[in-house]
Symmetry: C2
């Protein structure tokens, strides 16, 4: 008995521990597979097909010093490298369509709806987990403008749902299960970005509906376990838990808050425009014939993306690699050395501007196609480019007009005192904030992502301006927009209502109405229930103790009642049909 | 009208901005004054009494290279340096007793009670703010085992209360005011530790009762503003926002989780013991004659602290300086070089052990005396010493038995692979967790405090074990203990109740009882109310619209009713007493 009490007390911690372990393992495997697929798209390791390019060339004597290849690594002969991306993308779309239609999209709107109390059967099941884990790397490797970070939240939630069923306390109680799911969502963001604290705050701010203190602790434990497992698997081969580790030599100055606020406002504008455009396109897809050809749509979008992104060096590489380059103090791609030749600088400037335009447009059409599509990395990519462009602009301005009163005291003439990489980081936060309308969790994720604790004020300024400007053009984030678009029953707990209506004014039945059709806890026969189902059309029935003391003890869906009646009927029929003298 | 609507919408942000500015400024001034007082205790700058030792010797040609003094700096002739500490401490106690009795203690239990809905008039007033801001530096400078971090939360809350009164929307509505106070508490921790995110989480986890999403955003904004202002004032003269900035060259290894868990468990044990001992002592003070001599008590505790701490180099210096030394990778105080002479190592080892014993005991008697007493720094100090001792022990173990299977793979023989400084950091988190029972906010504060993002797993392990072990010996933190001791009406929202009782079972009046004594919104005369007050003894009366529609619209305290009646009576009397033909 003591053992059972102990098990009951610890099962809450045990289940989140298991969820953390599973989420960390899934994320590690997905990262490894994604890296392998991205390389296999371009070539293969002769004799050892299971190695990616880096591992293949690790011990090779013919490895080129830049790490771009070796004799063991055979590159496929392709035109534009488009064929394999098409194969990957259509394979992903096929798998999703055949085995787990719920595996498409980012999953965050649905997880949010589930956490608000609505049940979508099978949405967090094993098949969704398996297919999403396989198709997310395929989708990323096919160079589409999407990320695997949103899907990781969905995958972690699936882990949470599956492990919750191992413990009757959590599996049989939807409210308790949601506590586990909140923790799992935190673990998902934790492994997606290596940001355990940010994950907990994301779950608190964006996903969860009801978040008591106990869930906060368990979420944190779950997120940390997951991050720790991911670090132990070490899929990127470097020991940093941090994705875009940056250290800038120069501090930021007060006058820079003006461009940071501007970046924030632009990020909010972009977010609002993106949400409107994406929702309009998704609505069009739903209401037109386009919705009947999901695989064709995926193939077309993949082809356009691949063809259009190939000529530009910034769009050709992986989006998270591009962000990592852009936030560097002095990235090799973007020469921010002031002495570099003008022609070269113009070249990379216009390349960046083109990449911004392309990424901004293609993401609208990508988010919503029938493969796993995350939105974090593409949004951050757009913002990083925008931020870097503005940063270079400010740098030039300060360099060319060193006597302006704004920065005269902070910057010494002839020195560059502006770090364009920081602007890219702020820009990434601004657009992500504009699209998702996160604030606190956004800032925490960004500084866990970059390790830049001292840049919290610029990040905060950008996040705030982004939210204010974004909210001015429409009060809902992309996830709320998709919830509304898909018609999920979601009651936003962030909305405020003025409490002037009395409960008696909205409650049914009113005086004179028929009494409610209810089910009593005891005393009703199968026949009574059958009669109830046959004579009414209600979607469900309140269950009360008795007509005398009308205490509500539950709610029974018509669907579930019919299922249960079916089973009873079958049993009754058997009894009746069996001859008495047999 | 548009302007008024805009003002209404923005006043929420404006008030937290102002609170943040005020809290940051207060914290900056307090830091500067504390530093000055700590130096003035030992000497003065000839001709420029307002300078502290560092500023005094800044431009001096006679400054000693170690920074310990210069010819301009005159040291007082004292015995044990005790006299000035006694003057400071008794001055602080006197000021508190004469002008603002609410300024004593840490203030966090009371702020917590206020945020749960209880009103303590004057607790967050101007006088409390002023006197606490003056006496906190005095108390710290008198070398008592206390910190100014807890009082800073109280001071920030005072700022919040005062600025809330500038806006009728917040000043006239207690519920709205509490939102501002939640944000102010976050700002308090933010400036105390330079930890904005930790501050918000502290407010969420430990202090606040009701924390909607909107308050989260505003708290974060407020905490950041305050941290930013503090950084601009730059009281410590270094540009790091971080108090104990550490960078370790060595990573931590998996086997070290065992000693970290041990440290966590010991921290939890210490916390439980401290809470019991301190509450017992405070109860004794309340119920015995000791409570009548608060100033004498302060003087005695100060004398004992000063006399006992002088011989030991670890207790002689300021507690936060000691912590900063202990968490360093290789602090000058504690030689962790393995080649240092045995006699010297034993010396510093026993000094540390003595400091641990002394600090652990004296803090029990210090927390609760009638000066501003913070508990964060003393608790962390005890933990840092404990952690460092265990860390040195583990280091020796690993060095002397390099072949043990546990660490053989991680550590190379002949090298030291254990960082005692990290153990000190973990120990500080463990004891602080044991005393306050924080978890998530504790870990976030610790890593914002030290900048050690990669040590989040050890910190978390220690925090979790600390909480589990501490909770096994008593479920309440020190703040909850003091709330209970002082008999504040606090309903803990972390407690869970099993919902089996029906509301009708506990509600009054029951069938057959007298109806409730209520006040109607309209139609009652002054005479009716006077009759009500005279004939009943209830502490307060529900206010309803009318006896027909018993809608509750408020609750009126007896005290407030009597006050209002008094005013009306006076006016009535004047009217009656004035002769008609005057």
């Amino acid at each position: 008995r003591t053992l059972k009490g102990l098990h009951d007390a610890w099962s809450g911690w045990l289940v989140v521990l298991l969820v953390g372990l599973a989420a960390g393992t899934c994320a590690g495997l997905i990262d490894i597979v994604t890296k392998w697929l991205t390389d296999v798209k371009l070539g293969t390791c002769s004799g050892k097909f299971w190695l990616n390019q880096e591992s293949c060339c690790w011990n090779s004597h013919t490895a080129e010093p830049s790490g771009t290849g070796c004799s063991e690594w055979k590159t496929w002969a392709t035109i534009f490298g488009v064929e394999n991306t098409l194969i990957f993308a259509s394979l992903a779309a096929l798998l999703v369509k055949m085995f787990a239609p719920y595996a498409c999209g980012s999953g965050i709107p649905e997880v949010k709806t589930i956490l608000s109390g609505f049940i979508i059967r099978g949405y967090l099941g094993k098949w969704t987990l398996l297919i999403k884990s396989i198709t997310a790397p395929l989708a990323v490797a096919s160079n589409l403008s999407l990320g695997k970070e949103g899907p990781l939240v969905h995958i972690a939630s699936c882990c949470g749902n599956i492990f919750a069923h191992l413990f009757p306390k959590y599996g049989k109680n939807e409210a308790k299960k949601r506590e586990v799911l909140s923790a799992a969502a935190a673990a998902g963001v934790s492994v997606a970005f290596g940001a355990p604290v940010g994950g907990v705050l994301f779950s608190l701010e964006e996903v969860s509906y009801y978040f008591p203190m106990k869930t906060l602790w368990r979420s944190f434990f779950c997120a940390l376990t997951a991050a720790f497992i991911l670090r132990s698997i070490n899929p990127f081969g470097n020991s940093h838990l941090v994705m875009f580790y940056v250290t800038y030599n120069k501090p930021w100055f007060l006058f820079e808050l003006v461009p940071f606020a501007l970046i924030g406002a632009l990020g909010g504008l972009y977010g609002a425009a993106f949400i409107h455009a994406n929702l309009a396109w998704c609505k069009f897809r739903k209401n037109s014939k386009l919705g009947n050809y999901p695989i064709l749509e995926v193939v077309v979008v993949t082809f356009i993306t691949a063809a259009a992104s190939y000529p530009n060096p910034y769009t050709r590489i992986d989006a998270s690699m591009m962000i990592a380059e852009l936030v560097k103090e002095c990235g090799p791609v973007m020469q921010n050395n002031l002495l570099v030749k003008i022609s070269q600088r113009c070249q990379s400037f216009s390349n960046l501007a083109l990449a911004l335009l392309f990424k901004g447009i293609i993401t609208v059409f990508t988010f919503g196609i029938k493969v796993p599509t995350g939105l974090f990395i593409p949004s951050m990519g757009v913002g990083a480019i925008m931020g870097r462009l503005i940063g270079v602009g400010v740098e030039q301005l300060v360099y060319n007009y060193p006597d302006c009163a704004l920065w005269k005291t902070s910057c010494h003439a002839g020195h560059s005192c502006v770090t364009p990489g920081l602007y890219a980081m702020v820009g990434a936060a601004a657009t992500l904030g504009g699209v998702t309308r996160m604030t606190v969790s956004l800032v925490v994720i960004m500084f866990e992502l970059t390790g830049g604790l001292q840049y919290i004020v610029p990040l905060m300024a950008a996040a705030m301006f982004s939210k204010w400007v974004g909210d001015a053009f429409g009060n809902e984030g992309i996830y709320d927009g998709h919830i509304r678009l898909n018609g999920y029953p979601f009651l936003d707990n962030k909305e405020e209502f003025t409490h002037t209506t009395l409960a008696t004014d909205v409650m049914r039945p009113r005086r004179g109405d028929q009494p409610l059709t209810v089910i009593e806890q005891e005393g009703m026969t199968v026949g009574d229930l059958e009669h109830l189902v046959r004579t009414t059309k209600y979607n469900g029935f309140p269950v009360i103790t008795s007509h005398e003391s009308q205490q509500l003890i539950g709610y029974l869906y018509r669907r579930d009642l019919i299922l249960a009646l079916g089973g009873q009927m079958a049993r009754l029929n058997v009894i009746v049909e069996t001859p008495i003298n047999s």
